[in-house]
C-alpha cells in the first residue's frame, strides 16, 4: 500500500509539474478522441434519426446490424483499418498508416454504430409523440430529421458522451493503426499500456488519473447541462 501511495504521489507530482511529454500525450488523445466523436456524430446522428423516424425496407436488418456493431471488437477494427491503409491495401496510397488520422478513422468506425443505435432509440420514442403533428403540419422528411435531432439535443448529448467514453478509453485499434510512435501517435491509453509493461508506473498512473479526471469532468458537465434542460422542460 505504501508503494501504491508513493507511486500515486509521484504521478500527481508529474501532472502538477506540467511535464511537456505528458501534455503532448494528453493533447493528442483529446484531439484524436474529439475528432472521432465529432465525425461519428456527423454520421451517426442523422443515420440513427432516419432509422428511428422512418419505415423502409431493410430497416429491421439495419437496426440489428447497428446494434451488433455496437460491440465491435476494437482489435478487429484496428486490423481491418490496418489492412485498408497498409502499403498493399486499397487506401495505402494515402500514406495514413501510423498517423493520428488513421487512429481517428479507427475510432470513428468504433463509435459511429454506438451513436447511431442510441440515437435511433431516442428519436424513435420522440417521433412516436410528434409523428401525427408532423404530418398535420406538412413537415417533409428532412425537416422531420432536423426537428427531431434538435428537440432531442439534450438526450443526444448523453449519446455523444457514450461515444466519447468508448473512444477515449480505446487502446486496441489505435495501437494497431497508430503504432504508438513517440511524439507522433502516442496517446494516453497506449502510453499506459507501454509504460506499465516497462515498469514506469508513475507515468502510467499519472495518465490514468488524467484519463479518469477527463471522463468524470465531461460526464458531470453533460449531466448538469441535461438536468438544467429538464428543469426548463426542453428535454
Amino acid at each position: 500500500m505504501d508503494g501504491f501511495g508513493a507511486i500515486l504521489a509521484d504521478a500527481i507530482g508529474l501532472i502538477l509539474s506540467g511535464d511537456p511529454d505528458l501534455a503532448e500525450i494528453i493533447g493528442l488523445s483529446l484531439r484524436v478522441t474529439l475528432s472521432a466523436v465529432a465525425l461519428a456524430c456527423a454520421i451517426g446522428l442523422p443515420l440513427g434519426a432516419v432509422v428511428g423516424a422512418f419505415r423502409f425496407p431493410g430497416r429491421t436488418v439495419l437496426t440489428v446490424v447497428l446494434n451488433a456493431l455496437m460491440g465491435l471488437p476494437p482489435v478487429v477494427v484496428g486490423l481491418m483499418v490496418y489492412l485498408m491503409l497498409s502499403a498493399s491495401g486499397p487506401l495505402g496510397v494515402l500514406g495514413l498508416l501510423y498517423t493520428p488520422t488513421a487512429m481517428i478513422i479507427a475510432q470513428t468506425i468504433l463509435v459511429t454504430p454506438i451513436v447511431a443505435a442510441l440515437t435511433k432509440q431516442v428519436v424513435e420514442d420522440m417521433h412516436a409523440e410528434y409523428a401525427e403533428q408532423f404530418v398535420s403540419l406538412g413537415v417533409g422528411p428532412a425537416g422531420r430529421v432536423m426537428a427531431l435531432l434538435w428537440d432531442a439535443r439534450y438526450s443526444l448529448l448523453t449519446v455523444a458522451l457514450a461515444g466519447f467514453g468508448r473512444a477515449v478509453a480505446e487502446v486496441g485499434a489505435v495501437i494497431i493503426v497508430g503504432g504508438n510512435i513517440n511524439h507522433v501517435t502516442r496517446v494516453m491509453t497506449t502510453t499506459i499500456a507501454l509504460e506499465t509493461s516497462k515498469g514506469n508506473l508513475q507515468l502510467a498512473l499519472a495518465l490514468g488519473v488524467v484519463l479518469l479526471s477527463i471522463a468524470l469532468t465531461v460526464n458531470a458537465a453533460v449531466m448538469a447541462l441535461r438536468a438544467s434542460a429538464v428543469r426548463a422542460a426542453y428535454a
Binding site: Y130, E132, L137, G138, G143, A147, A233
Partner: protein, 263 residues
Amino acid sequence: MHDVALELIDDSGQTRPADSRAGTILEARGLSFDAGGQRLIDDVTLPIRQGRRTVLLGPNGAGKSLLLRLLHGLIAPSEGAVLWRGRPLDRTARRAQAMVFQRPVLLRRSVLANIRFALGARGMRGAERRARAAEALETARLTDLARRPARVLSGGEQQRLALVRALACEPEILLLDEPTSSLDPASTHAIEDLINAANARGVSVLLITHDLGQARRMGDDLVFLHGGRVAETGDLRQCLRTPQSEPLRAWLDGRLHFDQATS
C-alpha cells in the same frame, strides 16, 4: 331520423334539407376503417360544409377521433375515400387543413419557436414569418411568454398555443379533437373565442366535444356517431331538440355513455 344530408336554417328560422354536395369542403365517401379484426368506422358518408361549424358528437368509442384522423389523412381508410373540394385528399390538400389534438403536441422549444416551426414547414421565411408569428402570439395573448419553453405553460396556454399555431398556417378548415376537454371554464372560453373568430373569418370548423353546452354554443351542424356509423346528422339545434335516432335520444337521456359496438 335526420338523414346524412344536412339541413340549413333559412332566413325565417325554419330548417330545410340541404343539398349534401352544395358548399362541401370536406367529404367522407363510403369511409370504413378496420383494425384488429373490427370495423371501427363503417361506411361513413358525410359532407362537411364550407364556413360552417360542424360538431361531431357520440359516446366514447364511437370512432369520433378516428374519423377526424381519417378526414385529415393521418391514417388511410380500409375502404372509401376522403375528398377535399371533390378531389381525393392528398398532401397538398392537407395543407389547407389544420388539426389540434386533445393533448397538444408541442415541440421542446420556446413558444415562439413552436409557431415559427409550423410556419417554416409551410415554406414561410424571414420577415413574413416573424410578422405572422408575432401576430399569432398577440392573438393568443401569449406575447409575454414568447421566449418561455412551451412545455412549461399551463394546460390552457398550451392549448391556445396549439390552436394559434394551427391558425397561423391559415387553414381553410380547422379539425379539433376535444380541444377543451381538460381545461377550466376561463381557458375553454378563450379557446372558443379563438375558434369563433377564425370561423368569422371564413375558416370551417369540425369539432369533437363531449360537452353538450359547448356543442350548443359552438355548433351549426351536428354529426352524431354511434358504433362507427353516422346515426344522425343535420342542424344541431333541431337534432338536439327533436332527436330522430334512438342512439342520439339515448345519449341525450344519459343512457348511452360508452359505445358497445366498438368496445
